[in-house]
Amino acid sequence: MSNVRPITSPQIQSDDRAHEADHPSSLVAKFGMDQPLKLDCGVDLAPFQIAYQTYGELNADSSNAILICHALTGDQHVNNTHPVTGKPGWWDTMVGAGKPIDPEKYFIICSNVIGGCMGSTGPASLNPATGKVWGLDFPIITIPDMVRAQAMLIDRLGITTLFCVVGGSMGGMQVLQWTAAYPERVFSTLAIACSTRHSAQNIAFHELGRQAVMADPDWRGGRYVDEDTHPHRGLAVARMAAHITYLSDAALHRKFGRRMQDRELPTFSFDADFQVESYLRYQGSSFVERFDANSYLYLTRAMDYFDIAADHNGVLAKAFTGIKTRFCVVSFTSDWLFPTSESRALVHALNASSARVSFAEIETDRGHDAFLLDVPEFLDISRAFLLAAGKARGLKDGGQS
């Protein structure tokens, strides 16, 4: 019988990953003891740092800044080679020369979220009080905390009003939080495949992922760094389960069907006979190379807690009362993680608040991940929205003024 280990993870670049957590290969904004980040859980986090990347130039009147908010396992490396994996930026369909978000036209900012593991302070960072990695001593963070930290970064960059805040999935949650918390600082928003609150099913999937991490004996109660290990297997299983939710039945069928992996016949074992198994194992094992397990726990938790309406006496429309921001909301037909019904609920609330909102549901079988892929209709509407908003903002040709 061949290898029956559930997943392989022999060559983990844990050194690179650990190094990035405190010394990112990107720009860093450090905030001292005098500038704490006030967290929803009641803790004042200080000192802390935000790792970020920028592309393009800020124009003379600072009116062309776009903030990109990344998704659960994304980071600030939107449009450059990833320092750990060596892969291209995670949103090269949307960002880049000739793309809807073009560095020639806009000043593009993307920061690693607070609680992340690519250079912004999080559970993988060193706790200056102990000289050890934070681990589970790190306070629980929320989506509003992430946005509060981003606002401090935007202040530091000298930008009063963002031309647009853009993001999908957890990034879309941050987009909505930006408009609810700082409506006057956001001229327009592009909220993609997201929701104003995390559904019970999504919380359930996240709990499954967290339990997989914590069930790995190498997790060591969250103190795995001190013991020079990492819960690779648990985190990989969490990623595999989550990855299924990012796709769709149709996409999996089209991509893999029941095809066998490098063999003609079943091996009558638990080896990865099917291509889809092999693919998932690869997704799991490549993920653990670049992501910290505790960070995964914190960020999934932040999404679970997200509920804009709850912060406004249960009435979603109140979150957007009197808002001037231009909204573009996009969903995908085959997305079952953040289905169109969630986007519609948002749009109804925006309509009830008389907000200026456009909404389109894009026909695709590629599931939730469609926002990261080359889906021309989605990219077209994003481009159209940004150009029209740019015109309204007084940017020349919807771009640089």
Partner: protein, 221 residues
């Protein structure tokens, strides 16, 4: 040559004035400047753009994604949606005017839609093709076919227009659900208003489409 092949009778595309459709200009003229407007079934946003150009704060609902994309490219705020299912989600009195231009006949429940228009908006502007138009009558009477015109070219089996009515029918519906007609205009085939001093039956015969400015009626009968 059979009768079938000579149909449809030639229709006439709406005339344009200054780049705008005449029926759109008529609708725009009915809307008070500075008001808030929802255009239900706004297509590619031509009317909305005309309204915004006049300082009106406009929103749209459109079923087709192509239409939505066109509107977004024009900088308009348009939501992909369906008049039959989505109007219920708009709050009462959200708009000064709700416009339903050439869409009523394509809805599943015209009566419910009409009621919703006047719940969401203080006023509604409704335009629709008049099935009592003489050319329509002639096609059915003489040709024995469901009428087709250039403005309504689809065959009965593939048309999205499932609830045609005449101007007379519409007026009766308005009376039935206690809707006040503030203004009514019948446009002929060329988009010109049929003279005001003519009786209803003339409008019903010679109006190619009807355009109505409606408001909520007084006490329920």
């Amino acid at each position: 040559m059979s009768m079938q092949q000579t149909l449809p009778l030639p229709g006439v595309a709406p005339e344009r004035t200054g780049g705008y459709r005449r029926d759109h200009l008529l609708v725009a003229e009915m809307v008070r400047p500075g008001s808030r407007v929802l255009d239900v079934g706004c297509g590619d946003g031509e009317l909305l753009q005309l309204l915004e150009g006049r300082g009106i704060d406009g929103r749209g609902i459109e079923l087709s994604r192509e239409g939505v994309n066109g509107c977004v490219a024009k900088g308009l705020a348009v939501v992909q949606g369906d008049a039959d299912t989505d109007l219920v989600n708009y709050p009462d009195d959200a708009f000064d005017y709700v416009i339903l231009s050439q869409t009523l006949q394509a809805t599943r429940q015209p009566k419910v839609v009409l009621e919703n228009l006047l719940r969401i908006g203080q006023r509604a502007i409704v335009s629709f093709p008049n099935f009592g138009f003489w050319k329509m009558r002639l096609q059915l009477l003489i040709g024995g076919h469901m009428p087709r015109t250039e403005n309504l070219p689809a065959s009965w089996y593939d048309t999205s227009n499932i609830h045609f009515c005449t101007i007379k029918d519409f007026v009766e519906l308005c009376e039935q659900i206690n809707v006040k007609m503030e203004r009514a205009v019948a446009l002929d085939l060329y988009g010109r208003p049929v003279p005001l001093n003519l009786p209803w039956w003339v409008w019903n015969m010679f109006g190619e489409q009807g355009v109505f400015l409606l408001s909520r009626g007084g006490q329920v009968k």
